[in-house]
């Protein structure tokens, strides 16, 4: 299934900037960055649970927020794009380099 992850991490302090870096790195592990702090991750349910667990360990729940949008299996129909786009479809695109 496809999930959309967006985050807002408070970067006023040094620890905050560190958390942001860690959250970003973790999201890169699981998916592709489609915009700043917006990631699309094609995962199986187990990986989704794993990702949530890891993110929960990083963030400060009082200052930061993360949202997950579950786009499901037929997610291609639920996404429209306007303007500049260099993303790939992890399920269907031919990854030919």
């Amino acid at each position: 299934m496809m999930i959309l992850v967006t985050y807002d991490v408070n970067t006023e302090t040094k620890q905050g900037r560190k958390r942001l870096r860690h959250v970003a790195n973790l999201c890169v592990d699981y998916g592709q960055r489609v915009q700043n702090s917006v990631f699309e991750c094609s995962v199986v349910p187990a990986e989704f649970v794993e990702l949530k667990g890891k993110l929960a360990d990083i963030i400060n729940p009082e200052l930061d927020s993360i949202r997950f949008y579950l786009l499901g299996k037929n997610w291609q129909n639920r996404v429209e794009q306007m303007g500049n786009n260099d993303s790939y479809d992890p399920d269907k695109d031919v990854l030919l380099l």
């Binding site: 790195n25 890169v28 592990d29 699981y30 998916g31 592709q32 991750c41 094609s42 995962v43 199986v44 990986e47 992890p90 399920d91 269907k92 695109d93 031919v94 990854l95 030919l96 380099l97």
Partner: protein, 342 residues
């Protein structure tokens, strides 16, 4: 059913593969070209010469991503295989069957029946779809002879005669190959099957396609824990993935031949997509290869109903389903091996 993950093809000769955390990172002159999380990939096929970093090899091994190397013309060089999957008892039984001519010939007969009947289905289907444009009497003759081979295989008692019948059936089937070409007939002349090296455009594409298919079959077998080097029909030879070749027989016509002729007949390839070497060998060039792979990858996702398990599966999961059925038959969970009947 298992999810069909994506395949990463590296065709640029100066691309280098490396790892960054959980990402496969593709670099050119040290600069990052692209990156993909390993979780969306199950197969990496490199046509490049630079190779990969050891740490990426480790990532692939740990996560059962198959990593194969081919020359730019599609000749198979080798693949990295991680920890062997599955059960050693399964493999022992596989070796016992391979050593036992009476048991192994049953598997071989079934695979070849499937092969010839799927060739025959393609011949009949082509005749039906393009009647009027083709020499129908040739198609009818070939159909009759293939039918005869099918009957012969059912009665055969030893592997040598089986090889003979199979060879005859293949030659019969190749006789209609020229008629499978409806357009650009001067470019796509087929004068018998030639390999190592292929000597015409049709053979170049067939070889390339069989090479990709063999690779798929080999990973399918290894995923279920079978030894891809010990076959029931193909004999042992150092470096030859005999079991993978056994499995390929069931799909040659259904997956590769149909695909190649549809590329030709839809005019997706033409003479400018091939290179001819001094010794007369013909290969797909960069442009041709990338068209081939793109269409191949699209074809992989076509859904078909598997007649035995009666479930909708993506085309490239068929070798995997067959490998599973093979493992079940070897384990005696199935009374006999059900080959893929298109």
């Amino acid at each position: 059913m298992r999810k069909l993950l994506n395949t990463l093809y590296i065709t640029q000769e100066d691309y280098y593969l490396s790892r960054e955390r959980d990402n496969i990172v593709i670099k050119q002159d040290g600069k990052i070209v692209n990156r993909f999380p390993y979780r969306i990939i199950e197969n990496i096929i490199c046509f490049s010469y630079l190779g990969t970093s050891p740490s990426l090899v480790q990532l692939c091994n740990e996560n059962n991503i198959s990593l194969s190397f081919l020359t730019p013309t599609g000749k198979f060089c080798g693949r990295f295989v991680g920890m062997t999957n599955g059960n050693v008892l399964l493999r022992r039984e596989q070796y016992r069957i391979a050593d036992d001519d009476i048991r192994s010939i049953e598997y071989a007969k079934r695979s070849l029946l499937a092969k010839i009947s799927s060739s025959r289905k393609y011949v009949l289907r082509f005749k039906r779809d393009h009647s009027g444009k083709i020499d129908e009497s040739l198609f009818n003759n070939v159909d009759k002879e293939l039918l005869k081979s099918i009957e012969l295989i059912k009665q055969v008692k030893d592997k040598d005669s089986l090889r003979g019948i199979e060879g005859n059936a293949a030659n019969t089937y190749f006789r209609v190959f020229n008629d499978f070409v409806l357009v650009n007939k001067d470019v796509f002349q087929f004068n018998g099957r030639t390999k190592r090296p292929p000597l015409d455009c049709v053979n170049a594409m067939l070889s390339f396609g069989y090479s990709l298919l063999t690779n798929e079959c080999q990973s399918a077998l290894e995923t279920v824990g079978l030894d891809s080097y010990v076959g029931f029909f193909h004999t042992d030879r150092p470096g030859r993935a005999s079991m993978a070749l056994d499995l390929v027989e069931e799909f040659r016509s259904y997956i590769v031949d149909r695909f190649v002729f549809s590329l030709i007949n839809k005019k997706q390839v033409s003479n400018k997509h091939f290179d001819i070497k001094e010794n007369g060998s013909v290969f797909l060039n960069d442009k041709g290869r990338s068209i081939f792979i793109k269409e191949w990858q699209n074809r992989k996702h076509t859904e078909v109903v598997h007649p035995f398990i009666n479930e909708k599966v993506k085309l490239m999961l068929l070798p995997y389903v067959q490998a599973q059925l093979m493992a079940k038959a070897i384990r005696d969970d199935l009374p006999s091996y059900p080959p893929f009947m298109a």
